[in-house]
Symmetry: C2
Subunit: 264 residues, 2 copies
Amino acid sequence: MQNKTPLTIVKIGGNILDDAQALQNFLQDFSMLEGLKIMVHGGGKTATKTAENLGLKPLFSNGRRITNKAMLEVAVMTYAGLINQSVTAALQAMQCNAIGCSGAGGNLIAAIKRKVETIDFGFVGDISTVNAIAIEQLLHIGLVPVFSAITHDGHGQLLNTNADTIAAALAIALSGNFKVRLVYCFEKNGVLQNAEDNNSYISELDYTTYENLKNNGQIHSGMLPKLDNCFHALQQGVAAISIGNPEILKSGNAVYTKIIHQPA
Amino acid sequence: MQNKTPLTIVKIGGNILDDAQALQNFLQDFSMLEGLKIMVHGGGKTATKTAENLGLKPLFSNGRRITNKAMLEVAVMTYAGLINQSVTAALQAMQCNAIGCSGAGGNLIAAIKRKVETIDFGFVGDISTVNAIAIEQLLHIGLVPVFSAITHDGHGQLLNTNADTIAAALAIALSGNFKVRLVYCFEKNGVLQNAEDNNSYISELDYTTYENLKNNGQIHSGMLPKLDNCFHALQQGVAAISIGNPEILKSGNAVYTKIIHQPA
């Protein structure tokens, strides 16, 4: 592991994307990160707002978006279009050689349309393969891939895919050749014991502790799939995983949650 | 020139993009083209439709779009988002290793916001530099760049840029290292002597003939900037330039207009 090249993968949350100043600060910190890096973003609120402006009613089930054809178009327009290009242009202005990517371009991330069980999620994709070789080629010619949360099925269908899951899948696939640090940035200080208290962040979280906090209801809602992604990535060999506010990108910052293996 | 690698750059017109079957046929033909290739697309009507659905009134002056902030967002969403990603996914399904690109990503095409003279075009960019080295790197790792008509100013501002001009600028910049064939595909058979008669296409068009046809009004409107781009590209060393319907991509097709140097 020591000989692998370090690679940082940063997933940026929707609430930071929606706050112009917070986004600018985040991008500045991201642009200053040394070494190879990749950014992943979603952009839920912008898509919801655009959908509303177009007279569409966003549908959710258990916090997950139901993506019909019209909503898929809105997701592609906002995630892969407006947000991805705006972030790319902003990073370029900071001398960070960003390139906007989706799962479709270069067949970088292929997915399978989720099968209908109890809920028909519509055009939502579960990742099947990450094209690590092609992503490495982009990194090696000096580019900083910025991924929107859009994938494809290889048969011409674009699919909406959870951005947290994309970040984890990239981290796992690239861990074969890189020492990957996976960072989830959002508006809070980390995984909180009490969702109302930003000071209640947990410094180090192992799976047993997570299960306990989940079972007693202290960790819930959107944090569950995020943490499931984290523990899956940890198990699959990702070198370091952390969750916290954008300050996490600055060296010396101690306020965040580190996802750790079970203590022996 | 003989030793340069051939490269085909194809600009696809808006009326073909708007016709699902015509687009599918075009993409099939494009995917079958041998050798290195690049595609460029605009997408005016889709942007106009999205703008209308959002309650925005598109503004034009002399056939050129006036791009205020809201219209720029629509252009980025539709050109760089929906159309670019849909075309990329469709090409991937045809085993063509397309990657969606804009001028911002990889700083591939930088532009300068057009100065206000008589008309304020808004967020419209005139191309300043094409990053031929970075585009060559993408080609050399086996990718087929698909460019939307969005550029950036290097200071974080996205800009709407004429797709015909992007195709010509790419062709000129890449002619240093490639033998470039530049092809403008649209719904007509070529440059027509009589805009109403698709059989009146001109097989070979030189600059003097163009000037004459322009002066007597036989060539007008949107064909003028397109042909100005063609003759500029020819003068700047692009090896071959042609205009015609998508059949032009099939070898053996003789129905199109070839832009030629002045006969001696």
